[in-house]
Structures are given as C-alpha cells and as structure tokens.
Amino acid sequence: MAAMLHIDQLRTSFAQSGKSLTIIDGVSLTVQAGETVGIVGESGCGKSVTSLSIMRLLGKNAEMTGSIRFEGKELLTLSEKEMQKIRGNEIAMIFQEPMTSLNPLQTIGKQIGEPLRRHLGLSKQAAKERAVQLLREVGIPRAEEIVGEYPHQLSGGMRQRVMIAMAMACSPKLLIADEPTTALDVTIQAQILELMKKVRAENHTSIVLITHDLGVVAEMCHRVIVMYAGQIVEEAEVTKLFEEPKHPYTKGLLNSMPSVSVDAERLEAIPGSVPLLHEMPAGCRFAPRCSHVMDICREQNPQLLPVEGGQKCRCWLYQEGDER
C-alpha cells in the first residue's frame, strides 16, 4: 500500500537580499494511513516550515526541491489551482494561534462552511446545517448560536475547537497540526488532545503533529521525528524514543525537561544555543553543543542512518550500524 504522505529529500530555501538561506535541509519522512507522526524540535529547527512546505503555503521567495508525495501524487509540481483542490479537502491544517488564523470579520458558520461549499458543493443552507453538526461534534455548546458569532466572542479553547471543526469539515485524509495546543492552558490543552484523539479514531485520519512539547508527543504520536537546525537527527517509534534515545540532542532534550512526577536536584541543560542560519557549523550541526563531540564531528556532517533498535540517527557515534 502506498504511504499517505512520503517526503523525500525536501530542501526548502528562501531567497533573501540576493542570498539563499536553506531552512530545511534534506528532510525525508513517511506517514502511513491512520498513523500519527510527531515532529519535535526547538524554535528555528524548521518544523513549521516543513508543514508549510507540505501545504505549499510559503511565499514566492521560497524554493523547494525534492519530492512530497501525497497518496502517490507529487505535490511540488502541482499547479496552484490543483493544489487548492487538495488544501482543506484532502489535507487540512490546524494552526497554533486560533485567533490569528480565523478571519475576524466572518462568522464562525461562514468560515466552517467555506470548505464545504467549495470542495463538496453544498448549498448555503446545507453548509450551515453541516457547520452546526460539526461544531457539536467538537463539543461546542449552543452550536446553533455560535455559527452566527465571530471569533473574538469565543475563548481560546473554543476557537481551537472551531479550527478543528473547520479542518475536519471535508473529512481530510491527512491533518497537519502545527502546535495545536501551545497557546492553550493545560486543562484546555487536555480537552483539545482528547478531542483530537476522538476525531482521529472516528475518521482514521493520518496526523502530522508539530510540537515542542515532548509530553504531547508521548501522548499522541506513534512515531517521532526529532529535528535540529533544519535536519532530522533522529527518527524512532515513540516508546523507543523515550526509552532508548540515541542522538545526544534527543537525550539532552529529555534530560533538560523538568518533570511533574519526579524530583531532580538539577536539570541537565544543553549548553549554548542553536546555531544561526548563516553560521552553520561545517560538520555536525549539533557538534558545538554536544558533550560527546569527536574530531570527525567538526569536519563532516553524519548521515541519517538506521541504528540498532529500528530507529534512525544522524550521529558519528552510531555510523555503519555499530556503536563506537
């Protein structure tokens, strides 16, 4: 069976004042039907640009090479018109900030109705009825009244529910969720995560979940991709990632998190900070912050290779399949 989404060697760069800045450098990933794949990393690692590349929502100064196949269909060569038929229909997206991603001048009902009318050709009346139904499914009380209201009249959690209702309107096969709960309080986040699980179970939707929160990853994802400075540094099944992280960066991330259930005297912080785009290290991009750094790390960037345990890791400690 063909994968739902297959990205091969995606490279996204932006032309800026005559120079080309590469944000995503050779990202490959596969999402199977019904699978939830998490992309984690800190600010600036390229996780959001990856999602926007899939949707082809980047500006005109963006240049993408490689391949993004959705159910076998190459997205990078589609015309804008063909892409519009896919967006919001077969692939939908939930953004981080529901306030800025909803139109403040349109009623909730109209916004949810738009993909329904556009992609499914429903009449105005039918779209409104379906919108009410969708709002009920995402647990919004007084759905009949809410369809006539504007985004500013709703709370953050409610707006995110509206976003989910809108994304699910055309029963997409693939849902891209970019930090869907980051702007929300933890009790509201818990509500939204439960809702996403329910929606996923009912529609058998594949999800690409982009987040910086490893707790959310552990709860939602089947497989995880860890990104650092525009590249994938580790890919693993979710339990493997938390039990046997391989890459020093993944280990560092896990160790630097304070825990709500265990006491630690001191956190193991990763020293330094993420390198800037125009001063990427020549070798491994994590080398300047890595505690296991060797001579070779400073000279050559390692490949993302399978390591023992079924995961993939980009690190000289594990090259050629054996542990050094």
Partner: protein
C-alpha cells in the same frame, strides 16, 4: 521561628472597566483576597492558568499596580502605606524578572547601560564603582564583559533573560519576583536559566516568588506552591505534599492534565468541562463549583475558606 520576609494579607485588586459613555461599570475581580507568607531563602510559586490573577498578585506585591485592598508586609513594614520615597528604598530589596525578554529590555540602550541604570536610580557608588559592579554581575549570570557594549537585539532569548536577571540582581535584592521567567524559552535554554536561578539563590541567599503556569517547572524550582483559581488561592502546601497529595479538585484536575513524557503511562485524566468563568462575573459560592466534579449544595452558596488539612497544607474546599 524565623520571621517571614513577605506577608500578604487579603490582597485584593479590582479593575473597573466601563462600557460606553452611559455604560454600566464592570468590576473585574483579578485578585480577590489572597493570603500568602514567604520566609527568607525559600522559593514559593504561584501556579495557575491564564486569568487566575497570578501576575496581578506579583505586581501588587511590588506596588507596580496599586492594590485595591489588603496588606503587604515586607520585613514587617506594610508597603501599601509607604510614601513614594520610602517605597523606592524598599524596592531595592525586591526586584522583578519579566516573562518576555524581548519586551522588557530597552532596545535603545546598551546592556551595560541597562545594568547600570538601577544603580544610578538608587544613587549607588561612583561611576567607576558602578562599572565594576556591572562587570561583575554580567559574569555572574554567565555572559562576558564584551557583551556590555552590545544592544539587546544582538542576543538570543536565553541570553536576554540572563540580562534581565542580572538587572534584577545588581541591587543585591532580598526578594525576586519572577513572572513566568522561562515561559518564552525553549526547553534546553529553559533548563539553563532554571539552573542559573538556583545557583544564584544559593550564592546570594535570595528568596523567590516564582509565578508560572508550568506545573513541571514549578515542581522543579519550588519549596512551597500556591495554586490560584479566579483570583483566589485554592491550595497552598509544600511541594512534596501538593504533588503527592493534591486535595482541591482543581489542583487534581490541573495536575492530571499535564502531558507526561512517558508513552507507556496509563492516562487517568480528569477533564474539566467548559472554560474559566469571567472574573467580572464569578460564580457565587466556590468559584470553581460549575466545573467541579464533586460539587455539593453548599458549594453553590458559600465561599470556602482556606483551612489547614495537614501541617502546612491549606485547602479552600468544602469537601472533608
């Protein structure tokens, strides 16, 4: 028994907003009778969700916002009654670290100037002495002298937060109120800043009032924790006691909602229904009752008081 450094008694802040010209006055009860005591050398955290009044409480303590009612004793003196001149003296001993390291540093001043300003304001030392202190403090927070001539935009978020901490620290205060100091930072940087704050606490015998929405960070840094909901403290306890044995239904729901980075853990989550009620029209009785799963009749009419359940563990709930 040691004397408390800071004692807050029925601290209240009501914001009055008016809708339209003839509109009715609306009172937002941001902080509604908060009691809290902080002893020298400890870290007390206020934790709660957006709109619970935790930041307003922090600001009222420093009188950056004038409290509507209540008392704040700092080393036995009620700072709400101090004249502006006396207040300035006290503020040397209580400093604030802000959440957003991008917005809280003046972009037109060099880091050296930002750090020297508090010394100038309080008339401390000669120019040379001030320069020496600035150079000392920048190294204490893990940056170097070369950074002093640069401007805030040249630094990363973590470095800016170090500058914010240095600015608070340069007056050698006794109390630092840190309002979400690590919320804007990535986790690897957040760990650096938390470690720095712990090191500084040991070195300078600091007392922290730490305000945060992040229960994991709060568990890591605190000695005692106060949970706020809709302008009131619903539970205060030692960290161990609170996390092991959360007693207020809101604290229980809050703790159970935190996603744990362990995919094998069975979820036993209490999902709260609905949203936070508006603080301008809080529910009668216990403000948490419309969302509480153990709601009883008495909760709808009577406001529960903070009662001591165990030694040092206070809860405001009608449940026995």
């Amino acid at each position: 028994m040691t004397k408390p450094l800071l004692e807050i008694k029925s601290l209240t802040k009501h914001f009055v907003s008016k809708k339209g010209f003839f509109g009715q006055e609306k009172v937002v009860r941001a902080v509604d009778g908060v009691d809290l005591t902080i002893y020298p050398g400890e870290t007390v955290s206020i934790v709660g969700e957006s709109g619970c009044g935790k930041s307003t409480t922090g600001r009222c303590i420093l009188r950056l916002i004038e409290p509507t009612a209540g008392e704040v004793f700092f080393e036995g003196r009620d700072i709400c009654k101090l004249s502006p001149a006396d207040l300035r003296g006290v503020r040397r001993d209580m400093q604030l670290v802000f959440q957003d390291p991008f917005a809280s540093l003046n972009p037109r001043k060099t880091v050296g100037r930002i750090l020297e300003d508090p010394l100038i304001v309080h008339g401390i030392g000669t120019a040379q002495e001030r320069q020496k202190r600035v150079e000392e403090i920048i190294e204490i927070v893990g940056l170097s002298k070369q950074h002093l001539s640069r401007f805030p935009h040249e630094f990363s978020g973590g470095q800016r937060q170090r500058i914010g901490i240095a600015r608070a620290l340069i007056l050698r205060p006794k109390l630092i109120v840190a309002d979400e100091p690590v919320s804007a930072l990535d986790v690897s940087i957040q760990a650096q800043i938390l470690n720095l704050m712990q090191d500084l606490q040991k070195e300078f015998q600091l007392t922290y009032l730490f305000i945060s929405h992040d229960l994991s960070v709060v568990r890591h840094i605190s000695d005692r924790v106060a949970v706020m909901y809709l302008g009131r403290v619903v539970e205060v306890a030692d960290k161990e006691s609170l996390y092991r044995n959360p007693t207020h239904p809101y604290t229980q729901a809050l703790l159970s909602a935190v996603p744990v980075p362990d995919p094998k853990r069975e979820l036993q989550r209490i999902i709260l229904e609905g949203d936070l009620p508006s603080p301008s029209n809080p529910p009668a009785g216990c403000t948490f009752h419309p969302r509480c799963r153990s709601c009883m009749d008495v909760c709808r009419s009577e406001i529960p008081l903070l009662r001591q359940k165990e030694e040092g563990h206070w809860v405001s709930c009608h449940l026995e």
